[in-house]
Amino acid sequence: MEIFGIPHQAFLGQLMLGLVNGAFYAMLSLGLAVIFGLLDIVNFAHGALYMVGAFAAWIMLDKWGVNYWFALVLAPLIVGALGVVIERLFLKRLYGLDPLYGLLLTFGLALILEGAFRREYGVSGQSYQVPELLSGATNLGFMILPNYRAWVVVASITVCLATWYLIERTRLGAYLRAGTENAKLVQAFGVNVPLMVTLTYGAGAALAGLAGVLAAPVIQVTPLMGSNLIIVVFAVVVIGGMGSILGSVITGLGLGVVEGFTRVFYPEASNVVVFVIMAIVLMLRPAGLFGKEA
């Protein structure tokens, strides 16, 4: 049996692989959407934080022998803490200014982080072994799926759904959403907004860090891993509709799959397919697939 001219086994295989990549897009765009939605900051440093997450895991393993499972918890915490520091030191000073300044500042931060790691660790990268428990692969009949990749999909979807629930369905989420619009007023109602904002940025950073740890065993840990990805993730967020949490998750997964199939049918275009889709979506729906019309 064939689907679109390729054997259905290969088709399912490619679908699966698309989902794996989509999982990373989803996690990264989720963090970006949370930070954008709640702080009105386009976090250009997101890719760098993702990179720091991966490096944190690698360094912990390399230097102190901290295994993957601890790193999975610790690295996001470290990156989250870094996020908290960034927010307190820099971003805090930009609230109330044009959001473009946030973009430019985080752009600068990304350069600094990347440059520093590059200096310290070079660019050819470090490799991180797949944890024992998840090594090996499962024969799904239509393809051999490395266990680790299956885990990535499960973990990422779980995290995304949990975040979405927290923001859209809980009281804390309501504070956060309201805080984006008029932080001062929410604070005047008795909510400790500055703390909340700091923690939110920290949480967004931690999400990026978590994605970094998840990615470490799959790809080479290099200082440039983030900047290669961040622009695609921007496009994902724009397509999904900026600020829409669920939108960015669904779009992330979907685009992973679309990109996967492009690799089969027209590999030359696989780098640009996301941007092409973005252009088309914007022409038809300026606010993005899930964005609310302004």
């Binding site: 692989l17 070079g122 660019v123 050819s124 490799s127 080479q220 290099t222 990805l229």
Partner: protein, 377 residues
């Protein structure tokens, strides 16, 4: 001529190629000067270094400025073809000797050749010839290429295909992947479907590393052989022998190939806690040989020095039986290595075993193949 003799070295100090050349490469140039005695023709030798940040315009501006305002005697180009081509242009315009160490593009000595350029270490044609022919002869007949989708990848693939076919092999397919693709699983799945004997990776750096890792993860390495067409030892180190085992690699030098090299490598290791790449060795060698040539002709005059460099025989720890052809191509022996298994690899950075040695005249573009006008005269 009085005043110091200045040698300028421009390379990527911090970015993509900083590990295989970079600051350590600059240091090698300085070491060579030191070891030569710090002076030539009774003039002190100064080394200027700059980071071109992989930007051709930065490389060109720096080169131009040095030549104009510092009266540079020799320009050495580190990594990346674009910057080296730009520097070669400046050197040609200003008539100064230019030695390109780490550029891959064979254009430097082919369609863009110049009487002032020496292309010192390797080029993509040589890599293809060395990697391709030895493997086909060893029985890898059916090839499939995983190619980085830009000029460099294309030429690596095309050169390799020619070699494979010339040696009686076939190319059953190729898939192009975008530059800096973080995920290769999809392409590998396609490669696996091709039922080829060998997967040629016509890419470099991070792309090569990630492709290699994924190949291992998806069990591709079990069903087919993998050949890296442009691999430096730093890449193998990054992937780890466990993942790279069995990989076939072409290069111009390996630190563990003989005693002289080991001595050089030990000194390098002491300072950098890693082993030198072939480019870093070439940086040293090129500087040293230039100084010898200047000493010999007794002047830094470009034409005289170039004539000497072309006439010289090159024999040092880096290369044997080297000579420079009229198009500027350094012709020397090239090697095919295989990555050892984890068990065989006894000490850090002990990664390669020699598979074949390919003499220079078979490794590089032949005069007949070349489009360089300097060869046709």
């Amino acid at each position: 001529q009085t005043g110091p003799v200045r040698i300028g070295f421009i390379t990527d100090m911090a970015s993509l190629y900083a590990d295989i050349d970079g600051p350590a490469g600059a240091e090698m140039v300085k070491w060579a000067v030191q070891d030569f005695g710090g002076k030539v023709l009774n003039r002190p030798v100064e080394v200027l270094t700059a980071d071109h940040q992989n930007k051709a315009d930065v490389a060109a501006s720096k080169a131009r400025e040095w030549i104009d305002s510092q009266n540079l005697s020799l320009l050495i180009g580190g990594t990346s073809s674009g910057t080296n081509l730009a520097m070669a242009g400046i050197a040609k315009e200003k008539k100064r000797p230019f030695i390109s160490i780490g550029a891959g593009s064979a254009r430097l000595t082919n369609e863009d050749c110049s009487p002032y350029t020496i292309h010192y270490a390797y080029d993509t044609v040589a890599l293809a010839k060395v990697g391709g022919s030895a493997l086909v002869k060893a029985g890898a007949k059916k090839w499939y290429f995983l190619t980085a989708d830009y000029a460099f990848g294309h030429s690596l693939e095309a050169d390799s295909s020619t070699v494979v076919k010339a040696n009686g092999g076939t190319v059953v397919g190729a898939v192009r992947h975008p530059l800096n693709a973080s995920d290769f699983s999809s392409f590998l799945l396609q490669a696996q479907g091709s039922k080829a004997d060998i997967l040629g990776l016509a890419n470099a750096g991070g792309d090569f590393i990630n492709a290699m890792k994924a190949a291992k993860e998806f069990g591709i390495t079990k069903s087919m052989k993998v050949a890296g067409l442009l691999v430096f030892i730093n890449d193998v180190h990054s992937i780890g022998v466990a993942n790279a085992e069995g990989l076939q690699v072409a290069d111009s030098w390996y630190w563990n190939q003989d005693d002289e090299s080991r001595k050089f490598a030990a000194r390098f290791f002491e300072k950098y806690k890693r082993m030198p790449s072939s480019l870093q060795a070439a940086d040293y060698s090129a500087t040293m040989n230039y100084l010898k040539a200047v000493q010999k002709v007794g002047t830094t005059d470009t034409d005289k020095v170039m004539a000497e460099l072309r006439g010289m025989k090159y024999n040092d720890f880096y290369h044997k039986n080297g000579s420079v052809r009229a198009d500027g191509r350094m012709i020397h022996d090239m090697y095919l290595y295989q990555v050892k298994g984890s068990k065989e690899s006894t000490k850090p950075w002990d990664y390669y075993k020699l598979v074949a040695k390919v003499p220079g005249d078979q490794a590089f573009t032949t005069v007949a193949e070349s489009k360089c006008s300097l060869l046709k005269k």
